[in-house]
Subunit: 254 residues, 4 copies
């Protein structure tokens, strides 16, 4: 009994042991499977047979996830802290709608099933490489905020500008600043669906200048991320060198 407990604890908490690795791989496969079945459920004209199979798969997956959640809570060092941690809540939310949905009308809860997709975020827990991204994000947080603000101002001003140029000619497409905002976003991110575009000379010249400035909307975040990643790498190296030096300084003394 104690041995089983130990294996289970190892399976859930330890990250380098073999049972843990097998277990987390299985959970990841199940998460992807649940996402696929969820997608298939949205297909129109499903036969009742298929629906039954999908429901069965759903029941099995939720059962396993529930067992996993109970184990995680059981073996957590601080149970309350785990339950209210980000991943604790994601784990709970990814199974809860199923149980609530059984008693009540399923259709109204459907929208909440979206949250079941957060299961996929659990995949992230198993990865260590996120750390450098995190560091780079911290390093460039301020600049990204300023850039976001400037980008927002640019998008808004572009929308107002194009509204004045195109409002008269295309009253249905550029009906208000809100309609123009849709154009701004699709244009400045260079998506350009082609459902809405300027046709007047003024509007096109305006778009020309907006795009010249707007290239920065793509260029600046890229530059920020590049420089932050380089800085993160440099800091890591520096830390390692310092650690090595400290070790070298301590050793002769001992």
């Amino acid at each position: 009994m104690t041995q089983t407990r130990q294996i289970l604890a190892e399976m859930i908490n330890d990250k380098d042991s073999r049972p843990s690795r097998i277990f987390s791989a299985c959970i990841q496969i199940l998460i992807v499977l649940s996402l696929v079945t969820f997608s298939i459920e949205t297909l129109p004209n499903l036969s009742p047979g298929t629906q039954r199979i999908l429901f069965l798969i759903e029941v099995v997956i939720v059962s396993i996830f529930t067992a996993e959640y109970v184990l995680r809570v059981t073996f957590a060092e601080n149970r309350l802290r785990f339950i209210f941690s980000f991943f604790g809540l994601v784990d709970l939310i990814s199974i809860l709608p199923f149980y609530i949905g059984l008693g009540v009308d399923l259709r109204s809860v459907r929208a909440f099933r979206l949250l079941r997709l957060f299961r996929v975020l659990k995949l992230a827990r198993y990865s260590k490489a996120i750390c450098r991204f995190h560091k780079a994000l911290l390093l460039s947080k301020d600049e990204l905020t300023v850039f976001g603000l400037l980008a927002g101002i640019l998008i808004y001003l572009s929308a107002v500008g194009i509204y004045y140029f195109e409002h008269q000619e295309q009253p249905d497409r550029f009906g208000s600043v809100f309609h123009s905002l849709w154009w701004s976003i699709a244009t400045l991110t260079t998506v350009g669906y082609g459902d809405i575009y300027p046709i007047t000379l003024g509007g096109r010249i305006f778009t020309f200048f907006v795009l010249l400035v707007g290239l920065g909307i793509v260029a600046v975040p890229t530059g920020l991320i590049s420089s932050a990643l380089i800085e993160a790498r440099r800091l890591e190296e520096k830390e390692e060198t310092e650690k090595a030096e400290r070790l070298a300084a301590v050793e002769p003394e001992s």
Copy 2:
């Protein structure tokens, strides 16, 4: 009385005190609110009730902004210098059209209301993180100019080229070099609305080569900004190191 004066002065000028922070947050919320109401005003088929409410909000916002402007002028160290500074002018322009508009016909002044949007730029005043961007911009100013020139030449040459290829087949869409310029811009920024594109074999092969070179239109400014941001970060660090060294050098002397 003197105390009120002091609090007001602190509220407007000082950046680290509590009243100042609350005040600037309120102003920022008002700026966003005024932008939203401006956008709503452009919606077609507004009821007279809604229009009255929007006008009331406008009156309140302009009053507060006027009071803010008067305070800023009052507590400025050099009043004339503030009035003719960039933000002084933006502050004035963001409220002036309202007062002028009251007496004269509102419709003709409407275009000037666009300038009211500059209020949003006031948001930028409160941010310190812009400094690094500014440094990076200064560092890459020359290269950005050269790149802008090269990009302009490329856009122009592409427009002329596609004009010769597509003019015969699509006389309405590629009617002149100016029409082709619209295609050049939409294509080289990779927006690609789809309202205008080559259909001849020659035009498509030409587009192929234009796009191969044209990828640089996105790649080069990104590279410039990346390298400038990295350089700015390095210079900052260097300055700090030098400052620390100078301090260390001064200290033993004292």
Copy 3:
């Protein structure tokens, strides 16, 4: 006889001699020629005369490639190892379908002719500059994996979100999560064909936020590649410096 053997061996294996250079240039021209003839074969309404010429060119090219393959196997240091190496297999696959296709029905084998395109990959063998790319790829492998995962999650969540917003209004275009995935990909890579786009207010606001985050889909890999290339360059330089130092340290001893 022995001399011919030596020249042939040199032609195939050595990379710096003159016969080798001429030989590899000829092979590269033949590869491009075979790709062009393959493309021409797909053109509709080819005259029987053209088809005969194309077949003749194909026969000649395959003969030369077969001779090359036989020579490569003959002069390989370890024959079995070469045959099962990546380029050994590509060499074989690029000629095999032709021989198999002669006896059996050609049409069913057509799909496999796609593999003949791998010939083009042989071009890569002759280049040394790939090394730095390889190093940069190794350096950023982990981050690219994490980013790929995050991008996948973002694409999936966007697809589910837009499905809920647009499903009711456009049941044919956003018929299921799979249909929405097509939209996600075309939008987040900023291609934006314009065959499928949101029309509801909710869908557009959702797209706005998706695109703001989605800019990272383009920005992050660029940043990763930039930083990895810079790191690769720095490591190269470091290695060279260390090598030079070691040489300098060894010399005085001798």
Copy 4:
């Protein structure tokens, strides 16, 4: 007379004197003017009066450019070398079609008038900031070549792949590999006009994978340019430091 000669020589050759600066600014304005008049000439339905004015402007501009060319040849240190240098040829080509066109039928020479646009390249001569770009280009030349090759292979393979997937369903749009190449280019550069896109499930899944890899088409050159620009900046700094050190080392000796 000698003084006039000296002023003219200064005007043309020296880059720091005042007459030179004024002269080059005038030439640049004339170049832009000639480009604008050329564009206006392509407009349909021009009145004879406008055409006469445009022709007059053309005559004046060509006269000035001819005078400039004669002066440049006269004051060149090595006349033959200047005439056959890149800018010497561009200068000549930008005026020659006008003289040839006077005697012969103007329409047939029209295509050559495109070359008149090379005048615009003369603008580049006056700029010093191009140097760093040049260095960065030299540093990343090899990688750009390899990347170009890989991109070419990817574009070709994508075209062949989509041809097999979409050929049956859309025989007019994906009629041959050449038609598919047009799709490849428009998609992988993320332009996405929307005139041609996959509609089959297989084609869309294929596009998905092509785009995942194809993001590199934008990301890699950006990364290359970033890293090369950073390297170029670092090398510049290094050179300056070395120069300063050498100067410092020389001084005490003297």
